[in-house]
């Protein structure tokens, strides 16, 4: 346990000392809220959960997967593999660090929503929303794990992650309502990974209620999360070269 804590502290420090990571993880989400506040000021209730989910999506698909890839690229993983540290503890520690960062980001976005745009949030709604955010984060990180297992360079992972992120962001009811989409697309979107998360987060945050289809959403998310974890574990590599 002590080993796990020291490793987790080290990984946290390592990421918090990186200015680039700090900006994209903590400054950018708040900037995003400010920008949306300017262009869509009367929709910020609807937008805030959307921004939480799109941020979680980019974090899982891009930031957290690049974090792992950079450790692999720089042979840090290789060096860790040479120690008696079990792989499970390394992954566990990485998950803890990333979940902390991801939850902190969501908190910043909620704070911005409440303080700047009077988004109606209560203690109970937060209690309900955080587990949903967490579920989304974990599923998105597992999907990011597939990307980092497939590619060699972190640049490639960023490009792939960004592409998927942008596609999902516009069609998943995050920032544009579903009825703006053509019919055929509207029927597919509910089965994509971002849509269930935003339904769960939006209903719990704004209405302090579970979305009517919550069970179906969670089930779908679970399927994505578990199968992605399984594939990511299969693809996991320690060494930089293929």
């Amino acid at each position: 346990m002590k080993r796990f804590l020291i490793l987790t502290k080290a990984m946290t420090l390592m990421h918090l000392r990186n200015g680039y990571v700090l900006f994209w993880n903590f400054v950018f989400p708040v900037l995003l809220m400010l920008i949306y506040g300017v262009v869509m000021s009367q929709y910020m209730d609807y937008m805030t959960p959307g921004v939480i989910v799109l941020n979680a999506l980019s974090f899982g698909l891009v930031s957290s997967s690049t974090m792992m890839l950079e450790m692999r690229e720089k042979s840090v993983l290789r060096r860790l593999q040479a120690t008696p540290l079990p792989a499970g503890q390394l992954i566990g520690s990485y998950l803890v660090v990333n979940v902390i960062i991801g939850v902190l980001q969501s908190t910043l976005i909620i704070l911005a929503g409440v303080l700047l745009y009077d988004v109606p949030v209560t203690a109970t709604s937060l209690l309900l929303a955080y587990p949903m955010i967490l579920a989304g984060l974990l599923a998105f990180m597992a999907l990011g794990g597939i990307i980092s297992g497939m590619v060699t360079k972190s640049g490639t992972a960023t490009a792939i992650g960004m592409t998927i992120y942008f596609l999902l962001m516009f069609i998943s009811d995050l920032v544009f309502p579903l009825d703006m989409l053509p019919n055929w697309l509207r029927n597919i979107v509910p089965y994509l990974p971002a849509y269930p998360v935003v339904q769960l987060v939006r209903s719990s945050l704004l209405e302090t209620a579970l979305d009517p289809k919550w069970l179906m959403h969670l089930l779908l998310l679970g399927i994505y999360g578990i199968s992605a974890t399984f594939i990511a574990a299969k693809l996991f590599r320690w060494e930089p070269k293929a």
Binding site: K2, R3, I6, L7, A10, M11, L13, M14, H15, R17, N18, M71, K74, S75, V76, R78, R79, L80, Q81, A82, T83, P84, L85, P86, W238, E239
Partner: protein, 309 residues
């Protein structure tokens, strides 16, 4: 002789279709400094990777302290202190943090005092709160060594610990390696510098193209080949004529220098002077030297240690 502390048998290792180790066997005794000497691409890093449990050989086995690496790599990793060829630490951590975390990975928990004591050995105390990526090359190399022994291992594996270091920094690393040896640790290091192998290692294995071509003490390797003395001179003469001089076993040019292997240097030198006088060339910088590991390598592999790939 006691049981070897590292016992590698008949290792075959490949990357795809490229065979990096072709039936390599090696034993290291407890408390010795063992050197793997070979050119780029010889398979040194791959051999260490098999011992470290980082590369799974397609055939053969490695035992460390009697434990099979493939059976219980956690137990074998625990006994090792490791420095990889590419220094790959988490460079956004400070020097002291890195030592602490790498010791902790072996479930060794160092106090701040212990960390300072360790850093003092490597002349890194003033740098304890400096980020690893802000260190100079030599300092990073010393940090990698400090990290390698943070868990107080009995066996230390160092992959080219002095490459890319200036002569002064290189000597500092040699001193550290000797200290570690004096503390009773077993050390395996790789190098492509024959003077390093000669200066540091009790025994060496010469490795080339995935095979160990010889293994012994440096002096025995040189003696066993019964190489004669090497006569060096700066002169331009046709090689066939030089080779037919009395007592010359072999001759070659390295750059402008003519190198002759000779059983009787005085006889050869006199004859060389006569030959030069006849053909009107002048001889400069005559030097006689003892054969070294470089000559052994050349004799065994047919190519030079420093130029092969």
């Amino acid at each position: 002789m006691s049981k070897p502390i590292i016992d590698a048998r008949n290792l075959i290792a490949a990357y795809g279709s490229m065979q990096a180790l072709k039936d390599v066997s090696l034993t290291v005794e407890k408390g010795e400094i063992f050197g793997l000497l070979g050119p780029n691409g010889a398979g040194k890093t791959t051999l260490l990777a098999c011992v470290e449990g980082l590369h799974k050989p397609s055939q053969g086995s490695v035992h460390i302290g009697g434990i099979n690496v493939q059976v219980d790599s956690t137990a074998t990793k625990r006994q090792l202190g490791i420095q990889l060829q590419r220094t790959a630490l988490m460079d956004d951590l400070t020097v002291a943090e890195l030592v602490e975390v790498y010791a902790a990975l072996y479930e060794v928990y160092l106090t701040s005092g212990q960390i300072n004591k360790l850093l003092a050995r490597f002349d890194l105390v003033e740098k304890r709160n400096t980020l690893a990526r802000r260190l100079s090359g030599g300092q990073q190399q010393r940090l990698a060594l400090a990290v390698a022994i943070a868990n107080d291992p009995q066996i230390v594996l160092l992959d080219e610990p002095t490459s890319a270091l200036d002569p002064h920094a290189r000597r500092a690393v040699w001193d550290i390696v000797r200290q570690l040896h004096n503390e009773g640790r077993t050390i395996v290091l790789t190098t492509h510098a024959m003077e390093e192998a000669e200066a540091l290692c009790g025994r060496i294995a010469i490795i080339d193209r995935g095979q160990i071509v010889a293994s012994d003490t440096p002096s025995a390797l040189i003696a066993n080949l019964q190489l004669s003395s090497m006569l060096k001179a700066t002169v331009e003469l046709p090689l066939e004529q030089v080779r037919s001089l009395p007592s010359v076993n072999n001759a070659r040019y390295t750059g402008q220098h003519l190198e002759m292997e000779t059983a009787k240097p005085e006889v050869t030198l006199t004859a060389l002077h006569e030959l030069a006088a006849r053909s009107g060339s002048s001889i400069r910088d005559v030097m006689l030297r003892q054969p070294n590991l470089e000559d052994v390598f050349l004799k065994l592999t047919g190519h030079a240690l420093s130029e092969s790939n």
